[in-house]
């Protein structure tokens, strides 16, 4: 029964996500595998938001049934729209030996990561910060007890963090009928698979070459931190799922620049909207992506209505803050308030923080050759491809890292080096898939070639 519940839970994510994707984007033609990936991202976001909102009014079976009905309705509307607008779903097959080999390698890597995930227990944050909320909500009929938010016992569980991962896990628990950690881990290899496949598809689309997408996706597996670090993709941390949303947002924005197909801009808006809901740092990633989108809107002279993309994430962020106030959640103690006085008091940290950042880029054991490749790609692209695609990807990589560095000036930890050491590699992980896009863009390609069907 547990496996049946798990399958139903995952199917509901996909159904809801498919509906939202079709309602928002209305594409003419869609790669089926890409559609499943996007449905996973939007589905987990939608279901976790529905559980959070629905939990304000309902609990227990009522909450589960209500959310399931909304998911079914979204899926039904999505299928209706697909039929009405005659969306053509396609499954592009590999066309030569190289493409078959790349598909085989990617499949092998995905199977391996799935196996790693089930062999590893949840890590510190995976258990103490994220899964704990799913478990307590499950034991309380699908709603996190108010006592949890104010309990000094659970201050290390960061009750102020958003509920995307906990409520995605909760959804599976509700369907399985038990808070079964082993099966809840299913969602992390799913995010890895979605991230890898989207990286392949988006890289192929923005470069016009399928083999580039395949090669970049194969190389992602060789970033050691993804498989073995404290914040690895397989130990229940949210940084990799956040990086996948960020990849989708930036990738679709660049796809819009390349193709002028407004469906891609809508996909950017949909995936970027969920960034603040996935993790607190998602606000920074959203703001960076919104800056890039603003440049795109202005440079392409799009309608002012395109700026509506900022409304959903703003609503999510404001609603979350109101909810935290209503629950009397104490504010985070990791940082002092950002004021001029605090900056003046800590400005002597600027050089040490930069030194740690550069040192981190060179950590072969965590990143292998990734950041060296990104540096070479930047240098090459700056000389060869000074267009909006390069600008968007460069800003999308550099700005979040600079913003994260800036936040350590306001760290309230007695030893801010220790604070940086425990969290900075995970923050860097959030931009890794987008950094891979930069490497893809720098690989040899025929820029005059029309888009291939990716």
């Amino acid at each position: 029964m547990i496996l049946v519940g798990l399958c139903v839970g995952i199917a509901t994510f996909l159904l809801a996500g498919f509906g939202v994707a079709l309602i928002l984007t209305r594409p003419h033609q869609w790669n089926i595998i890409e559609c499943v990936c996007v449905s996973w991202l939007l589905g987990t976001g939608t279901v976790s938001l529905l559980l959070w909102i629905g939990g304000s009014f309902l609990s227990g079976v009522g909450l589960r049934i209500s959310v399931a009905i909304v998911c079914a309705l979204l899926g039904g509307v999505g299928f209706g729209m697909a039929r009405k607008t005659q969306v053509r779903f396609v499954l592009p097959m590999p066309r030569n030996m190289t493409e078959w080999l790349l598909v085989a390698l990617i499949t092998f890597e995905l199977v391996n990561m799935t196996q790693f995930s089930f062999e590893n227990a949840l890590g510190w944050d995976g258990l103490i910060v994220w899964e704990v909320k799913a478990r307590y909500a499950f034991l309380n009929g699908g709603v996190i007890p108010q006592m949890f938010f104010t309990s000094p016992s659970h201050i290390s569980s960061h009750p102020e963090y958003p509920l995307f991962i906990p409520f995605s896990e909760l959804w599976l628990y509700l369907w399985m009928g038990a808070p079964h950690q082993f099966w809840a881990k299913t969602i992390f290899p799913m995010f890895y698979c979605v991230g890898t496949i989207l990286l392949a598809i988006l890289s192929a689309r923005i470069t016009g070459r399928r083999w580039i997408g395949g090669v970049i996706s194969v190389l992602l597996f060789f970033v050691p931190y993804l498989t073995s670090g404290a914040g690895a993709a397989v130990v229940g941390y949210v940084d990799f799922p956040l990086s996948v949303f960020y990849l989708a947002a930036i990738g679709y924005l660049v796809s819009f620049l390349k193709t002028n197909d407004f469906a891609f801009f809508r996909l950017y808006a949909a995936t970027a909207s969920l960034l603040p809901w996935v993790k607190r740092e998602g606000v920074i990633l959203f703001l960076v992506s919104a800056f890039c989108a603003t440049i795109v809107i202005l440079s392409r002279k799009l309608s002012w209505r395109s700026f509506a993309f900022v409304i959903p994430p703003a609503l999510i962020s404001i609603s979350w803050q109101i909810y935290l106030q209503k629950m009397h959640v104490p504010s985070s103690r990791d940082f002092v308030p950002v004021t001029w006085a605090a900056f003046a008091a800590h400005h002597d940290r600027i050089l040490p923080v930069l030194r740690v950042t550069i040192f981190e880029f060179t950590q072969f054991a965590r990143w292998s050759l990734l950041w060296w490749l990104v540096a070479v790609a930047f240098f090459y692209l700056a000389l060869r491809l000074r267009d909006a695609r390069f600008f968007v990807i460069a800003v999308a990589i550099i700005a979040p890292i600079a913003a994260y560095d800036f936040t350590y000036l306001f760290s309230s930890w007695p030893d801010f080096f220790f604070h940086m050491g425990t969290s900075f590699p995970r923050l860097l992980l959030q931009v890794v898939p987008v950094a891979c896009l930069a490497v893809a863009l720098a690989l040899p390609q025929d820029l005059t070639q029309p888009n291939q069907n990716s």
Binding site: R135, P145, S153
Partner: protein, 104 residues
């Protein structure tokens, strides 16, 4: 620890819920902090008081605890003094001492 979660859960649920549980753990020891956080995770909805022990001051901080104010003392990453009995040992550095006595 064989069946650690089950054994911990069984012990934690047998303790009175009217008082918090005190968790003793050494300062700046990530493994002990994780063990303590796991005990807190399993102990829900019991309330816990985190007592981070400074080097060389364990006994002083232990004596400062009013036995009437907590249901048990949980030692994570450290061993309780030999005279503090009875204790339920889960691992070499994880034990629970239900509070039925004065702390000498």
């Amino acid at each position: 620890m064989q069946n650690g979660s089950e054994r911990l859960l069984k012990t934690l649920t047998s303790l009175p819920r009217s008082k918090p549980l005190c968790v003793f753990l050494p300062q700046d020891d990530m493994d002990s902090t994780f063990a303590a956080a796991t005990v807190v995770y399993l102990g829900w909805p019991a309330q816990f008081r985190w007592i981070v022990v400074r080097p060389g001051n364990a006994l002083g901080q232990l004596r400062a605890v009013d036995p009437a104010s907590c249901a048990a003392i949980i030692f994570c990453g450290m061993k309780p003094p030999d005279w503090l009995q009875p204790r339920i040992v889960f691992a070499s550095k994880l034990s629970i001492v239900p509070m039925r006595q004065e702390i000498k």
